[in-house]
């Protein structure tokens, strides 16, 4: 739709249209209120103001009427009425896992682009040092900040909270956070990502790590073993002496350029294309949907580059319709 230009032939166009129409019917039947509650800017939201309702985001009161200030879906939680915007920038919540790109190394902090209204700040003091020791950050650490993250590095972190001046603070206090290497960064609209318990996924079949950031940035990269970094430093040193140290933790200093096998690189591209395709179609980017699309591409023998072509575009849309039809039948 947006970032993907596909040229459909007549049959494909008809198939896509019918698929989309089915989706519309599905969403209008399954949750009849949801589609009826879509509003555009300056629409009146029907509420009874005498009930003492709370005006949430995307609403404003004009002349005794509640108006929408955004295009989106009206949500009502008890007394709170708000408009959930669809296409908008990311709205951070504390604890969100995000993927971002370093744009500046500033004193004691890194600035990250995370698709928010401002740049996020990752303080040197709110991340674990690569040596894994808890201690005060010295001036030497500050000078060595570029050895941890440089400009244009892609980083995974967690939202820590807002500072009183409104800036967004991040933290990376675990081995699973840190620099991301040997993979691809993908960007999708944040409304397609749902907050889940798990945002880090290790796809064992493909040897690939998939990080679905809440801000719509996603990482598809070669699988890297994490954890057990602080298990024993000297063990690692011994391994290094043996000259066969593999499985180094993320963000390690003297990373040796290990070779990513061709097969893994192909898998990375395939999964990345699945994400691109789903986001272009505007479908929710859940792990199941992504894996399902990858499997579909394998089973129908689609080459990686053809995943972004017209035929597979329509196939994926039809597949999604099938999935939703069957899931709605199960519920009924």
């Amino acid at each position: 739709m947006r970032d993907l230009q596909v040229t459909l032939n007549q049959t494909q166009r008809v198939r896509l249209q019918s698929a989309i129409r089915t989706l519309q019917e599905l969403s209008s039947t399954s949750s009849s209120s949801a589609v009826a509650a879509t509003v555009a800017v300056a629409d009146v939201i029907p509420v009874n103001l005498e009930d003492g309702i709370l005006k949430g985001h995307g609403t404003s009161e004009v002349d005794g009427q509640l108006m929408a200030t955004l295009c989106g879906v009206v949500e009502r939680v008890n007394k709170l009425v708000y408009v959930r915007a669809l296409r908008a920038r990311y709205k951070p919540e504390i604890g969100d896992i995000i993927v971002g790109r370093v744009i500046e190394v500033a004193p004691k902090r890194w600035r990250l682009e995370i698709n928010f209204t401002q740049d996020a700040v990752l303080m040197l003091s709110s991340m674990n040092l690569p040596d894994g020791i808890q201690r005060r950050r010295t001036a030497v650490d500050e000078l060595n900040m570029r050895s941890i993250f440089e400009e244009d590095d892609v980083i995974c972190a967690e939202v820590r909270g807002f500072q009183h001046d409104g800036s967004l603070q991040l933290q990376a206090r675990s081995q699973k956070y840190g620099k991301l290497e040997r993979g691809q960064l993908l960007t999708a609209p944040p409304y397609l990502v749902k907050r889940r318990k798990q945002h880090f996924h290790h796809l064992e079949d493909y040897g690939v790590d998939l990080i679905i950031g809440c801000n719509g940035f996603m990482w598809v990269g070669e699988h890297i073993e994490t954890g057990e970094n602080d298990m024993l430093e000297d063990q690692e040193n011994q391994l290094e002496k043996d000259g066969n140290s593999n499985a180094k933790p993320m963000g390690s200093q003297d990373e040796e350029k290990t070779f990513t096998p061709l097969e893994t690189r192909r898998h990375i591209c395939r999964i990345a294309n699945a994400v691109r395709l789903l986001s272009a179609l505007g479908f929710t980017l859940s792990l199941e949907a992504i894996i399902d699309t990858v499997k579909l591409s394998f089973s129908s023998n689609i080459s990686i580059k053809d995943m972004l072509a017209a035929e597979f575009y329509v196939q994926t849309a039809e597949r999604e319709v099938q999935r939703r039809v069957s899931s709605s039948k199960k519920k009924a």
């Binding site: 399954s30 300056a42 295009c71 401002q118 999604e320």
Partner: protein
């Protein structure tokens, strides 16, 4: 020159005096922008892209209590009949940039996005009169697409007075006739005027008629834009699923 046929009452392009040109709007035409739209009024065709709210690029311009809105208007070289090289930042485009910015800033709730900036880029792809109206309409759609909170939709339309007849939505030929050209920007639901420009003189009573005609045009545009936005939102929501 006869701009309104005295016999039939039709204009040069076959419209009635109070008839608008065909309008068409499309959302999501620029892949990398946060919001984008294309708007056509007859042969006038305009594309708008909105970036932001994002980090302020020039720190000295940062406002601690509201968002900074910037607008840039440009005309493509191929947009007019005779192909011209257009220097960036000439008087005309600076003025129109300012006009668009001011009329849109009236509706954007800037206080909700402090310390950030919103960039609006509008480019004329095909010019046939009423480019500033088309630009405002395209920019409104792009802002709504970018999910930027606005108190109302700003729409714009022009009207003129030729051959003792008020004419709605002037095209290039009528525009260059030298008669008065009233461009109105309107907050459609709230009935508030955010832009009013006229480059000639008109008696008071006639001016009121002409302006009323332009306001009617704005409302028609607002209704159309509203339909497009609602349809687009429904589409996105149904595709996303639960």
């Amino acid at each position: 020159m006869e701009f309104v046929n005295p016999l039939t009452g039709f204009r040069l392009d076959g419209r009635r005096p109070n008839e608008m040109r065909h309008i068409r709007g499309e959302i999501g035409v620029v892949a990398n922008a946060d919001g984008s739209a294309m708007f056509e009024m007859g042969n006038t065709k305009v594309i708008a892209a909105v970036y932001g709210p994002r980090e302020v690029q020039n720190k000295s311009q940062q406002l601690s209590n509201q968002a900074l809105v910037q607008c840039e208007y440009s005309m493509a070289n191929f947009s007019t009949g005779d192909r011209m090289r257009r220097p960036k930042g000439d008087r005309r485009s600076t003025e129109i940039s300012l006009v668009i910015r001011q009329s849109l800033e009236a509706s954007v709730l800037t206080h909700l996005m402090p310390r950030s900036q919103i960039d609006i880029f509008v480019q004329v792809l095909q010019a046939d009169g009423g480019t500033r109206s088309a630009c405002i309409n395209a920019a409104t759609m792009a802002l709504a697409d970018a999910g930027i909170p606005m108190c109302d939709l700003v729409t714009s339309c022009s009207a003129g007075y030729l051959c003792t007849t008020p004419l709605l939505d002037l095209n290039y030929v009528e525009d260059s006739a030298g008669g008065p050209d009233v461009t109105v920007g309107l907050l459609a639901k709230m009935d508030k005027v955010t832009l009013l420009q006229m480059d000639a003189k008109l008696p008071m009573d006639i001016f009121e008629n002409v302006m009323q005609l332009a306001i009617e045009g704005c409302k028609a545009v607002a209704q159309y834009i509203h339909e497009v936005l609602l349809e687009n939102t429904k589409q996105l929501e149904s595709r996303r699923g639960k």
